[in-house]
Amino acid sequence: MNGDKVTIWINDDEYSVDPEMTVLEAAQEAGKDIPTLCYLKDINEIGACRLCLVEIENTGKLAASCITPVSDGMKIKTNTSRVRNTRKLNLEFLLSNHKIDCPTCLKNEDCELRKIAEKLKVRENRFEGKKSSFAVDDSTPSLFRDSEKCILCRRCENVCREVQSVRAIMAEGRGFDTVIDTAFYDNLAESPCVMCGQCSLVCPTGAITEVEYIDEVWAAIADPDKHVVVQTAPAVRVALSEAFGNKPGTIFTGQMVAALRKLGFDRVFDTNFTADLTIMEEGTELIKRIKDGGKLPLFTSCSPGWIKFIEHYYPEYLDNLSSCKSPQQMFGAVANSYYAEKENINPENLVVVSIMPCTAKKYEAQRPEMEGEVDYVLTTRELARMINEAGFNANELKEEEHDQLLGVSSGAGAIFGSTGGVMEAALRTAYEIITGEELKQLDFTEVRGFDGIKKTSVQIGDLNLKVAVANGLSNARKIMEMIKEGEEFHFVEFMACPGGCLGGGGQPLPATEDVLKRRMDAIYEIDSSKKYRKSHENPYIKKIYEEYFEEPGSHKAHELLHTTYIYRGI
């Protein structure tokens, strides 16, 4: 033994490793490539798929490396013919009960099962037999489930359980009839699923995917009577280019705008603009609640997954939610009123499309309280597919800018795409409105970063504002329990997805920790390069209040920019 390390041999090379490691972790650290399918670090380590098998010479046995701890003197072989053949056989068994639908499957190029079949060189379908038969679930506008493509890896179940604490889907039944499903085999729409789509990010097959609306959008663009405007969410521009082979964290705003024009949208606007508008309304709401002794803490309301979560699991706190619509829905409302009036467009001929990093936004757009404001929501992944379908290379496009009026935004709007961003944007504006003084230090670094829960207090004049930020719904649940136990805050930001929208369920695959970190860095880079970094300084925000809403929280603002919530329970 070497200190607190253990000595192991991998393919005859000696390594000194941490005794807490699994064989897989040790092998990965040593640069050995072991195929994995069900494995998801810290979330799904159950040794179910049997593709990460290695041979342990000491025992003569094959072991699933993802769940086998290292031990001193262990001799591991990762590439014997026995290992290769057994991995391949196990994969063939998985494929024998998989609906093989590859050319028409939405997952297609992103399918891990397909990639691993190539990697392990499966060349024939040896085990043709009875396959499990399940109905598809197309009950929601967000997520589509085809359990005949499911290989029961349990990633979705455990992301839903561990990362999100939603527990909407789990294994039902037994043996050949086992299916990942909702309680009582109901469909997703009847379940407490929040539509966040984290399951669709980790599904290694096409068993859970977003619901595509690409054809509907093409049809709107092709219709000469329709005026089609598009809005782009803050987190899309820092992730879209990954789908075109660029490195994560590439800022692709200009190419994205150019691509959208090329696709045929009549105006390319920005959700960042209505993020600024959200800050005006939500900041005002916060100040009003503090001054008038209103319900506190105030909870943010931008994340539709979070909204559905609180409606199911903490409905007794609905009054704490900001009444502000999300930036997506504010855009829809403003496009159909202010913009349509200004441009003299009949709202019936106006089609509003959103590009979102989010599957829950599809569901949000169809909520009855806000129906008709946003017509179609495409995820970042769908936009990439649409561009590929159109047949041009987005990487080669010359950068263009968003259209004005609803397209100019501040750095505060940009950071909405990251966890902590809404909080920081709100603090920048609230500080100046409350104190009447200029905020010198704009970066509130305490609310930045990937920590699941961030708490801090900010001195604003006489007020010591206590704030908290949660990302990932299991962290949201923790903060809700803290509040239940009496911990006091003034303002809490909640984002359903880990990392905030940049880790949204509609973003390009794969969404690893490193990828998310690069996207976050890019978002703060956009912020720091902006001319205006506070929402209330955005000249087009000033203009929309002068010309239309008069002031934040006005009667008209309430009519168009605010909403209500539904008591759901579980």
């Binding site: 527990r167 909407a168 889907i169 789990m170 294994a171 039902e172 039944g173 037994r174 909702t182 309680a183 009582f184 379940s191 407490p192 579980i570």
Partner: protein, 165 residues
């Protein structure tokens, strides 16, 4: 599927159910134990009752239905007055229990896991009753009957139905 769904029958036993549940408040790790007790009391575990158990143990309905759909002992539907459990373990299977199952299914119009419309019979297929020397074996309300063939099995069931056993 033919099932006898006597609506809300279990609600007459709400007080007794609550007496069971109150000992396991928020203790989701006792789920299986609680399900045994509640099923022993009510006879089956309908959806609404599963939700009630989930709520009391501070878990979600899906985690309850997941357990119930895994273990064949637990039933979402009421069982018959006479509960047939027929063994399809290795010994019984080799000795022809499949033919007996088919015969019963055919004669009484039920599949495994179902009950007859009149609520008299329910059929369950189990793996090994631990009486392989008597294969093929079935139990009716827990009483074992061995060395069966399809005709003999039906004959025994008829005796139960006629009150002769």
């Amino acid at each position: 599927m033919k099932v006898v769904e006597k609506k809300n029958e279990w609600q007459e036993k709400t007080e007794e159910i609550d007496n069971i549940l109150k000992n396991y408040k928020d203790d989701s790790s006792s789920l299986i134990e609680v399900l045994h007790k509640v099923q022993n009391l009510v006879g089956y575990l309908p959806k609404e009752l599963q939700k009630k158990v989930a709520n009391s143990l501070n878990t979600v309905p899906g985690d309850v239905s997941s357990v119930i759909s895994f273990y064949s002992h637990f039933s979402e539907f009421p069982k018959g007055e006479y509960q047939i459990a027929i063994c399809k373990g290795t010994a019984c299977y080799v000795k022809g229990s499949q033919k007996i199952i088919e015969k019963i299914e055919d004669k009484y119009g039920i599949s495994a896991g179902e009950s007859t419309e009149d609520g008299k019979l329910s059929l369950e297929v189990v793996r090994c009753l631990g009486a392989c020397g008597l294969a093929p074996v079935m139990t009716i309300n827990g009483r074992a009957h061995g060395l069966l063939n399809p005709e003999k099995a039906v004959g025994i069931i008829e005796k139960y139905l006629n009150g002769e056993m």
